[in-house]
């Protein structure tokens, strides 16, 4: 076990931004933290990198309880490094930035120069060695920041939205680097993203955060609506666009719901209108995701559906076709 978090909370001005009951992160993996903006991803990464103290609760690193008040934080920080969403480079050359962690660890000059060169080569920035760091573009800055983080020889590298502010070309490079770090250097990588496809492409394990909590399923298909009761006492959630979803439970009023994409049924041709929570739609997109395929269906709202690959062949659906979907009551979560 790399990290163990128990009843961890971070409270800013009486507002709980992070509330984690129990979370374990394993060593040697690439872990994706998935969630929308404001889910608490950045706060969690700052706590995992020991630069932010949690308000309550316990955090264990490699089995040992982390004491934020005690003096061993520097030793812990030297095992873990954070690359921020918009990383900041020191006002100096690219090479000096990468050399910074080596300098403060008092590494020898020739060794330092060799490592700086090797790391800049890894991120494809060797030709920028003598450039002033603040003149680089967003993607180049991100790559230098990754090289600088690697100079710490960390056991864990934490990356906050590593590709959020870069162009497609840099995104590809950065994703390749993440793969290399994990496979060749055996460093545990934990990164945040709000891009589901990226998370499933890069991460061996994905953890979803929503409003500061670890979500049971990947919170996808999130919609806002209002719950009403009909004359029979059934609970109906009225979504925008006039869609009606029957629910098992939920209090009347404005709510947000999420529909688990793994539990949505999908079939060819239009749906059976008479059964509840069934909608006709059109298949917009199919994306390959490891052992599964993600189908995007327009039913008035965009629904994301995850289908096992073998099931896709049976279904024989293609983009542009009319399809039917059914959202079973147990696939719907109200929060």
């Amino acid at each position: 076990m790399l990290y163990g978090l128990k009843r961890l909370k971070k409270i800013y001005n009486h507002r709980t931004v992070l509330d984690i009951e129990d979370l374990t992160l394993e060593k040697g993996h690439v872990t994706g933290l998935l969630g929308p903006n404001g889910a608490g991803k950045t706060t969690l990464l700052k706590i995992l990198s020991f630069i932010l103290e949690p308000s309550l609760g316990e955090i264990r690193f490699k089995g040992k309880r982390v004491d934020f008040a005690g003096g061993n934080l520097k030793d812990l920080r030297r095992k873990v490094v954070l690359v921020q969403q918009q990383p900041i480079l020191f006002t100096s050359t690219v090479a000096n930035n990468v050399a910074f962690p080596l300098r403060i660890r008092k590494s020898e000059k020739t060794e330092r120069e060799r490592l700086v060169e090797e790391l800049l080569e890894l991120v494809g920035m060797l030709s920028f060695r003598d450039a002033m760091a603040h003149r680089l573009s967003g993607g180049e800055t991100q790559r230098v920041a990754i090289a600088r983080a690697l100079a710490c020889s960390p056991e864990v590298i934490l990356m906050d939205e590593p590709t959020a502010n870069v162009d497609v070309e840099n995104q590809i490079v950065i994703e390749r680097i993440i793969g290399e770090i994990s496979q060749k250097r055996h460093i545990s990588v934990i990164f945040t993203t709000h891009n589901m496809i990226q998370a499933s492409r890069l991460a061996e394990k994905t953890i979803s955060l929503f409003e500061g909590r670890v979500a049971r399923s990947t919170y996808e298909n999130i919609f806002s609506g209002s719950i009403e009761e009909d004359e029979k006492g059934d609970k109906i959630c009225m979504l925008q666009g006039g869609m009606k979803l029957y629910l098992k439970n939920g209090k009347p009023g404005s709510v947000r719901i999420s529909i688990d994409p793994e539990r949505i049924n999908i079939w060819r041709e239009e749906g059976d209108r008479t059964s509840i929570n069934t909608f006709p739609g059109r298949l917009i997109q199919l994306t390959d995701e490891n052992s599964r395929v993600r189908a995007l269906v327009d039913v008035g709202i965009m629904l994301s559906v995850l289908i096992p690959k073998e099931r896709l062949e049976e279904l024989d659906i293609r983009v542009g076709m009319k399809v039917g979907v059914r959202c079973p009551e147990e696939s719907i979560e109200v929060f």
Partner: protein, 231 residues
């Protein structure tokens, strides 16, 4: 008008002739002001860092007090220090009154608030991510402070220049604590006041020209660093 033009041309001649008395006065001014600026920087810059990064009770009040002290009149400081170092004061036995040391003490008190408040504003302008980045890269508290110091360096230089500009031009402290003794504590400003009293304008105008030149040069350097600090 003739009188002014005559004084001005004689003053320029005096500067051109490298008059020893004139240069002695300039020398004392520069020495006293540089020393007090150095001491105030050694105290004020670390103080500014501590106030910015430490959370403590009364922090806001302290910053308000420091801002108020920016407008402290030199004669009040002169009087205050005099009370301590005059013969009857508790430090009277040190025999500091009418020495360069006394002037330095007064000037340091004058500009510590300037250096400190300017340091606070320069350091708090530096992005929080610099500190976080240094920490996550494994820096200790001192190395982290050094990173922030480096990033804030132009703002800090501006603070020091501002302080130097204040002391080189002040007259109250130098007069009350230095006593304007020729060759020892006579500075550009006190010499000017004296020459004015005597009705001797030539040396006064010459010193005025030097003082203005120094202020002008400092202003140019100050704006240069202020501009750099905003990049």
């Amino acid at each position: 008008m003739d009188f002014f033009v005559d004084s001005l041309s004689s003053a320029i001649l005096l500067i051109g002739s490298l008059d020893p008395e004139l240069f002695e006065v300039i020398g004392v001014s520069l020495k006293v002001s540089s020393t007090s600026t150095l001491i105030a920087s050694l105290v004020g810059i670390p103080a500014g860092f501590l106030i910015t990064f430490r959370e403590f009770r009364g922090k806001a009040l302290l910053i308000t007090v420091l801002n108020t002290l920016l407008a402290l009149p030199t004669v009040v400081i002169g009087l205050f220090v005099y009370a301590f170092i005059s013969r009857r004061g508790i430090f009277g036995h040190l025999d500091l009154l009418y020495t360069q040391e006394a002037m330095i003490i007064g000037q340091v008190i004058l500009i510590i608030p300037i250096v400190t408040t300017f340091t606070i504003s320069a350091v708090s302008r530096i992005d929080e991510r610099y500190r976080e980045t240094a920490l996550t890269l494994g820096a200790n508290a001192l190395q982290t402070a050094w990173v922030v110091f480096r990033e804030a360096r132009f703002g800090l230089v501006a603070a020091v220049i501002m302080a130097f500009g204040r002391v080189i031009a002040e007259v109250g402290i130098s007069m009350m604590l230095g006593g304007n003794a020729k060759g020892f504590t006579r500075t550009m400003t006190t010499a000017m006041a004296l020459e004015y009293d005597k009705g001797e304008f030539v040396l006064s105008v010459a010193l005025g020209i030097v003082l203005l030149t120094v202020s002008f040069a400092l202003n140019i350097i100050f704006h240069y660093f202020q501009g750099k600090a905003r990049v």
